[in-house]
């Protein structure tokens, strides 16, 4: 199995072994062992729910620190569309772009600009594709892609195969720098993605070996926020101009990507539990005849990312005021819409990782294990209290049969046994 590199980790000194993350993890990837939470890397989808919900801030996201950026290089900032919703009283995107330059970036390339190009390619892909494969599912949220490869492998061929905006932004930004500064070589340039979520870090880390990655650093939005804020000055007239329109910036919140397709045959859902339900419905075939499904793991879309600074709903309102003065769309494909989509714009199809949930590689053996699990499950209280370290009683039964836990870990059952002993006068 290919080892998947994650960006969610645990600070063991802060973890109290409580059961919060255990219960909130949508793939049951967490167990509490020896009083500390452990993440099963084969099941983790980097959704960040554990980071969002940990009451002790013991769950962390791995990002590149702003200090670690090599300042001797030609640096290009790639701000995510959601960054534009983080600042109060910002009604003109140019002030933020100028703030990034003032901070020390040599150039800024908006991910929103790339998102408009991706939007155009997505329209083209839907138009050119076999209608029976509908609905197509957006691949922009890396959590959704990983969730599908893990739990809904039969839906992999519904994923839109266009390279996501951040990667397109990185590529175009580097090409632009090389063109505008002929003295630069490729190794002199570094792109820095300013991200609202850890899943994008994992996505960059797990770029297939045969694919070139155009993102050099991924920094967290909250890490860079105050440093950029202090560089944004109202009295200073920006020297840069935003190159994206309403369509690109709207990718920041749920429904933005889908509504940019300019028709009403789409659905947008956000929040991890909600998107799992939608995927279940698509798989069951009980789904309205739609062209496109946009799914975002975070509540409200990317503005709800765990590394965003502002409340997602406030960020959304702010984006509305920025959008008011923006053109609809600034980046269009110029060629004939029937032209084939170029190889360079195509994303790699995710693998089938559903074996991560298998009890055993041999069917007969996993069948025997499941029989055993059901027998043990009947002896458990069904309270799903998490005290044993597993998220549910059923998961505990599974752990026992896999040899990872014992029946004695169930405190409720132990208490009942003690009571019985007392009653019998033992």
């Amino acid at each position: 199995m290919i080892v998947y590199k994650h960006s969610v980790s645990l600070d063991a000194t802060k973890c109290k072994g409580c059961t919060t993350c255990l219960r909130r993890c949508p793939t049951q990837a967490i167990r509490v062992r020896d009083g500390k939470a452990c993440i099963n890397p084969n099941l983790c989808i980097d959704c960040g729910e554990c980071i969002r919900n940990c009451p002790y801030q013991a769950k962390q996201a791995t990002f590149d620190k702003v200090e670690s950026i090599d300042r001797s290089k030609y640096l290009i900032a790639l701000p995510a569309p959601s960054l534009f919703g983080q600042f109060a009283n910002l009604d003109d995107a140019d002030y933020l772009l100028q703030g990034l330059l003032n901070f020390g970036f040599n150039d800024v390339f908006e991910v929103a600009k790339a998102a408009e190009i991706v939007t155009d390619y997505t329209r083209r892909y839907i138009r050119q594709s076999d209608k029976t494969k509908r609905p197509f599912i957006s691949n922009a949220c890396p959590v959704v892609v990983r969730l599908i490869s893990l739990r809904f492998p039969s839906l992999r061929n519904k994923l839109i195969p266009i390279t996501p905006p951040v990667e397109v932004a990185g590529k175009l930004a580097k090409e632009r720098a090389l063109k505008e500064h002929p003295e630069l070589k490729e190794e002199d340039i570094r792109t820095v993605f300013i991200s609202p979520c850890p899943a994008k870090v994992s996505w960059v880390k797990n770029t297939p070996a045969e694919k070139k990655c155009y993102i050099d650093y991924v920094v967290s939005m909250s890490d860079i926020y105050f440093r950029v804020l202090s560089q944004m000055r109202r009295e200073e007239i920006p020297t840069v101009e935003s190159e994206s329109g309403v369509v690109g910036i709207s990718w920041a919140s749920s429904g933005g990507e889908a509504s940019a397709l300019m028709n009403d045959r789409y659905l947008a859902a956000d929040g991890i539990e909600n998107i799992i339900r939608v995927l279940d419905e698509i798989e069951t075939g009980h789904f309205p005849d739609l062209e496109f499904v946009e799914l975002n793991a975070c509540p409200g879309g990317c503005v709800g990312g765990v590394m965003a600074v502002e409340n997602p709903y406030i960020a959304r309102v702010r984006l509305q005021s920025i959008r008011r003065y923006m053109p609809v769309m600034m980046n269009y494909l110029q060629d004939d819409p029937d032209t084939e989509i170029p190889e360079a714009m195509l994303a790699t199809k995710p693998g089938d990782h559903s074996s991560a949930e298998l009890l055993h590689s041999d069917r007969a053996q996993s069948f025997r294990m499941m029989l055993e699990i059901e027998k043990i499950y009947k002896q458990l209280p069904g309270m799903d209290c998490g005290s044993c370290g597993a998220p549910t009683c059923h998961a505990h039964a599974e752990d026992i049969v896999k040899g990872e836990s014992t029946l004695d870990e169930c405190v409720i059952r132990m208490r009942e046994l003690l009571k019985k002993k007392e009653q019998n006068g033992e």
């Binding site: 039969s154 798989e283 069917r363 996993s366």
Partner: protein, 142 residues
């Protein structure tokens, strides 16, 4: 003696339309853990979902029992609803007795039983008017 089966029981709540389909989602996970192929899992979840919806629409709910063997899966859906007057008519695509309010939700297209037949390897319908309906489906697994 028949070989030992894994048995899962689900109550299908007739009063909660939104919960219809819960059982098929749970079954999906169990089958994935045992390594059944995505195609088999998909067939079962579609057929089972249709059955669950039917029980909610027509019979105020019922019982769903799933028996898993290493090489096949048997799904038994039983209810004490009004029963089906003419089974062969109900098996025809597009034939539906669902009320308008159900149709307005996008259900009741008359594809329930036909889909169950299409996606299962064996389908048996036993129904008595005024007593109830039992539907047995079998899926040979790959």
């Amino acid at each position: 003696m028949e070989e030992e089966a894994l048995h899962f029981h689900f109550d299908v709540d007739g009063n909660n339309f939104a919960s219809a389909g819960e059982a098929s989602v749970q079954v999906k996970r169990l089958l994935r853990q045992m390594g059944f192929s995505p195609d088999t899992i998909r067939r079962i979840s579609i057929a089972m979902y249709e059955g669950e919806i039917n029980m909610v629409i027509h019979a105020h709910g019922g019982d769903a029992d799933v028996y898993v063997y290493p090489d096949k899966i048997r799904v038994v859906l039983s209810d004490t609803g009004p029963g089906i007057k003419d089974v062969s008519l109900a098996m025809q695509e597009g034939y539906s007795t669902a009320p308008d309010n159900i149709r307005s939700l996008g259900f009741g297209a008359g594809m329930g039983l036909p889909n169950m037949k299409r996606y299962s390897d064996k389908l048996e319908v036993r129904s008595t008017v005024g007593v109830g309906t039992v539907i047995e489906m079998e899926f040979i697994s790959a």
